[in-house]
Assembly symmetry: C2
Homo-oligomer: 223 residues x 2
């Protein structure tokens, strides 16, 4: 009656258990607040996942009583810690993105200029809302009051990616809106700018060729 082999989601939950024991409700909350930004999972599945970990011997469950209510707390096992370490030995897959607003921009010619502008505005709003959610969390860490401060070496890396991703969405949507503003009302009559294409090609070319340059930090500091 053993369930299928552990998935990446299994390891995500196991990784949280490596920090401390969590109740299943707390796990869903914690995923929603942090990991869900880079590995989003439905709540129902988050309740199932720890049970699978227990089946595999990677975690233990204990039940607590609060009046008529029970709460299940999960704790990582030594086998779980070893499994996590083994999982970390393989680099994992690159990012997968699903961007519905961009999909709509891709098919703009089937709608109106106003549709496209509204979509780009919504993308901007999305990015800002994400940053607005992140800010107080970051500020709490800066004040020395964030959760699990011993994890800040990792958190500084992951939060930088997440924030920059939001900024990418925001800046792209703003830039794209300046272009779509110049479109005629019928998107089918829009024209493109060869310099935009050329700039995009130049950026991709630099990435492919920049194998030898360790300029990452310089670039980031100077932004």
């Amino acid at each position: 009656m053993s369930r299928g082999s552990p998935t990446t989601t299994s390891y995500a939950v196991l990784g949280l258990l490596s920090i401390k024991p969590w109740s299943s409700y707390e796990l869903t909350q914690q995923m929603d607040r942090s990991l869900g930004r880079i590995w989003p999972r439905a709540v129902s599945k988050l309740y199932e996942e720890p049970k699978k970990l227990v089946d595999h011997g990677l975690a233990r469950a204990s039940t607590e009583q609060n009046g008529q209510r029970t709460r299940t707390v999960y704790t990582i096992t030594a086998k779980g810690r070893r499994a996590l370490a083994t999982w970390l030995q393989h680099p994992g897959e690159g990012p997968v993105i699903e961007f519905e607003q961009l999909l709509k921009v891709f098919f703009s010619e089937n709608g109106t200029k106003a549709d496209t502008l509204a979509t780009l505005l919504a993308a901007q709003g999305w990015a800002r809302a994400r940053c607005a959610e992140s800010l107080p969390v970051g500020e709490r860490y800066a004040e020395g009051e964030g959760l699990f401060p011993e994890r800040l070496p990792e958190l500084q890396l992951t939060s930088r990616f997440i924030t920059d991703f939001y900024l990418l969405v925001l800046n792209w949507a703003r830039w794209a809106a300046t272009i779509v503003e110049t479109w005629p009302d019928d998107p089918r009559q829009a024209t493109y700018e060869s310099e935009v294409i050329a700039e995009t090609i130049a950026r991709a070319r630099r990435a492919v060729k920049d194998d030898k340059t360790e300029a990452g930090e310089t670039r980031h500091v100077k932004d």
Copy 2:
């Protein structure tokens, strides 16, 4: 015997049909080459989707014969075009990202410094490989030879986002590697830099506050 209501994937396929009729195999190829970068879908589902469109009256199927082999070609209907236009009237959801390598960085303390560096190197490789795939496509468009050049007003917008996303992954992974290089062998003994946290906060703060600035284009040109 009507299937469930159209999904975003349905509209993605319908959008491709709005450009021209496609056989189901061609649809899978085209998704793999272009739309799959921002709306990835499994091949098996891509074969199913056009059948659903036909069920809903949004497309028509016709069968062609090639020796003993048949091929099914799908064509959008007028109802399909209207449905697509209606779908475009609603802005859609912001991006969802699943980044397994970043998840592993998040749990670095359970592995070794070398694990983390390998993961960051793999992320760089991923980004470069994606740019290397995109380059010849972009260059073909620059030479005036790309597919569906009448769609270049849209393509210039979407390809910019996609390329900049790859660059984000590449530059972040390089920058993160410079930091992880300074870590001790045991990641649990690593320290963080408060300036990094502060910079991330500053970036998020600017995004939330920059409601009034239309600096998108300037920023992009100056990069």
